[in-house]
Amino acid sequence: MGEPGHGEITELLLAWSGGEASALDKLVPLVYAELRRLAHRYMWHERADHTLQTSELINEAYLRLVDASRVNWQDRAHFLAVSAQAMRRVLVEYARSRGSQRRGAGMQRLPLSAAVNVHARQSPDLVKLDEALTALAGEHPRRAQAIELRFFGGLSVEETAAVLLVSEDTVWRDWRLARIWLLRSMSRSRSSERGAHAG
């Protein structure tokens, strides 16, 4: 498939922002394809010299895909929402393809040092998280979106608030409650796993 030009995606984005719901269906796969390409490129080290932040990635995609002069900040916010969704799919797919279990042991061994943005915490199993998140979306859609935007999209609280059109306070609350929900949900599934083994 040829690379989508500025024009096509910009049109779709504007159309979607303008209220045309069907535009989203066409938009997402295009964005997804681009992000996937970029992410794979970075993670498989075609560009070995580049260090990576999620926001950089998404912004790069944005610049490549969208004619920024025609689009306002709200459309950009929509784009971010779509990108976060796409990032989620990319990363979960990546995790699935590697047959990843919980990263636990490996990560714990890593000592923390200079210029690190990472906590010494275990990264969750993305596949399980994805499932739990889908379930959460059924009950509290906005909270699930907050997780998607922040964790997969790398958006800040302010940016998330702009996308969801709520206050920052609300975002903080949603985010906290969503994480509690996810923790609970994922620990439940963990114990059921153990149960299955024992049984």
Binding site: A39, Y42, M43, W44, H45, D49, H50, T51, L52, Q53, T54, S55, E56, L57, N59, E60, Y62, L63, W73, M87, R88, L91, Y94, A95, R103, G106, M107, L110, P111, L112, S113, A114, A115, V116, N117, V118, H119, A120, R121, S123, P124, L126, I147, R150, F151, F152, G154, S156, E158, E159, E168, D169, W172, R173, R176, L177, R179, I180, L182, L183
Partner: protein, 858 residues
Amino acid sequence: MPDSERERRLEELHSAALQRDASERDEFLRQACGDDAELRRAVESLLGYEQELDGFLEVPALQTATLDAMAQERPLVGQMLGLYRLVEPIGSGGMGEVWLAEQKQPVRRRVAIKLIKAGMDTREVVARFESERRAVALMEHPNIAKVFEAGATPQGRPYFVMEYVAGIPIKEYCDQHRMALRERLELFVHVCEGVQHAHQKAIIHRDLKPTNILVEEVDGKPVPRIIDFGLAKATAQPLTAETLFTRAGAIVGTPAYMSPEQAGSTGADIDTRTDVYSLGVVLYELLAGALPLDFHQLAFDEILRRVREEEAPRPSTKLRTLGERSGTVAQNRGCDPPTLARQLRGDLDAIALKALEKERSRRYATPMELAADIGRYLRHEPVMAHPASGAYRARKYIRRHRMGVAVAAGLVAVLVSFGAAQTLQLRRTLIERDRANRERDRATRVAAFMTGMFNVSDPSAARGNSITAREILDKASKEIDAGLSEDPELQAQMMQTMGDVYESLGLYSQAQTLLTRAVDIRRRVLGPRNPDTLTSMSGLGQVLQVQDHYADAEKLDRETLGAQRRVLGPEHPDTLKSMHNLGIILEIEGRWPESESLDREALDIALRVLGPEHPGTLRSLENLGIVVNCEGRYDEAQKLLREALDIALRVLGPEHPDTLRVMLELVHALDDEGRHAEAEKLDREALDIALRVLGPEHPETLRSVTVLARILNEEGRCAEAEKLDGETLDIQRSVLGPEHRGTLESMRNLANDFAGEGRYAEAEKLQRETMNIDRRVLGPEHPLTALSTYNIGCILAGKGNRDDAFPLLREAVDHGLSPGYDLAIEKDPNLQSLHGDPRFAALVAYTKERAAAALKPK
């Protein structure tokens, strides 16, 4: 539906409970839930997750995935880089990745290697680092991580080998351990100590931020370690839109920690106080849990502007604006939001803001000063940081008349202050005042507009623009009457600000007009005891002094001092400052015993209140030394000045402009006693430092050169002096402009040198040129115009042209020559040839008469 209602209630309670301190939570829940035990259990269950939530999903997924990928597939694992074997990646940042590496020969140890991303000119990066490396290698401090070496990979990427620090960034560490304010501050003090150590080795970090300050646990105790010293300069890139943003438009630089001077210029004008600012931001975050300024979604220019101009809110105020987040912030400090706000208010607010002052001269001068104030807070002692409502001006360049008993060839008697104090101080008082937001904003905007218009905080920036600025100012001062008459307080503020600007341009009489009016208005509207009124009075006093209106200045300063003693107390720093000012005036007027006793009193207070290592005490010692020197007690004077110099070296370091100033005073003292050789030696030392640290065009450097030239001139080495003065003059002509006071002074000095060499024609020509400019710019009554006239008279006398000399000398005395010149005239070797002429005796007598009359207060 009752279910969702219940759920909503549950979540509300959860949220509210989080905002309270653990001790209050019980009570709160009891009241809120009442009999509903199930509800209460549910809330508590939610609350129980706080611990586990920590770090969960806080880091975006992609970052973690990248590290995993890096670890597993990276071909670099196991690779050798020089003596080091790369083990595994341990982090990534804006500039590159960091790897853990092992070294086996000649020692076994683990190191961290920072691989800079390609795209930077490797050769240049490594070369720049090499220039700092020696100094960096000399650093030996428990709070600094060493950088061992730099190199390049075969692929051409620069890398730095550093001490491996097993720690996490200071912000995260403090939050994870829920450290209370006190503990955080104790940790922070160590950080300051580390930075101070580096400064003493002449290394400025330039890029201090929490991710560069890691906390390691040694024997169970947290030890902060600063990393990346010496790297910022090596990897520095010009501050453009490209480097600040990635091509994708996201911010990867760290504008949050960038100081105003870094945001304002080409970044060339960095000094140790730049690091103090960054430390201030880190401190702010440790206290309030948020950055002082907001930058998201902003354009490049706007970000820089904010860094330069927008005042940060007080940490306690900031906390309030965080809303929901304040609960988390307080929790991370082991308390609840109201308690935290209370702890922050007052001293900690003041300390943080002082470190974040836009103008460097108002910040803590060194990290140790900041640490010292924090220390005072921790020991419940009064801190020095509180915003000066009085006359806080960094008067580094106070103009004096040199009047030692052995008066030099009085021609070069004046050491003019080249660039006056940092002027355009955005008055914090304006913002803090309890007014409607609207008014506050207006005033801030107006003052900010003025500041932005001129940006004359550095005299060398005034170059050739002083005339344009002047036109704007003149116009504005006319408009000020019309525009602001309904708002006298604002009017006074504007006049004060503009008076400051005129002062910085050397236009003292205009400054005086405006400041006088500001004082009048404030006296009327705010009252004679109001701190702002006192500030204006103090400032006016200094403008009067600089123009040699000593009687008026003395009168005003006495009044100000009296009021400050009553209103602020005899031991307040502003009161102390007034004592200094008055002491200086008395010294200049020749009333040395009075000056001495006032200076001793000031020193006493300073020692008691500020401590022996404070710049205020330093100032007192200096002033006392100067006046004692005037009285001819050379040994004592030198002892005092040496003591002051010791303190300055200890507290400020050898490369601080104030230290240089003290050095120069000591040079004067030695010179006055006739110890020219020692004076010359010390002056050359000072000049050396000044050239290295401040550059050849800095006012303090030029002053050192000028003093040196004067000493040489006195020793009769006029040709050497001429060379130095000539060079200085060239620099000043291009940097300050042809009509700046500093330039004019050098012209006078150079004329003296010519005269000393017997080149009278050139001397006279140059001196007349100077006099004409003086007359035009300063007016026919100005002391400096008079000095020029006097100089010409001396030259004519030297040529033997007595008939023309006397009228000029008389004219000089009549039209503004400073008091104290009675002595100068008698002893001036240039007038030697006039001795014995009856006109000379008459002149001397006349001068004495006038001097005596001038010293009487009007």
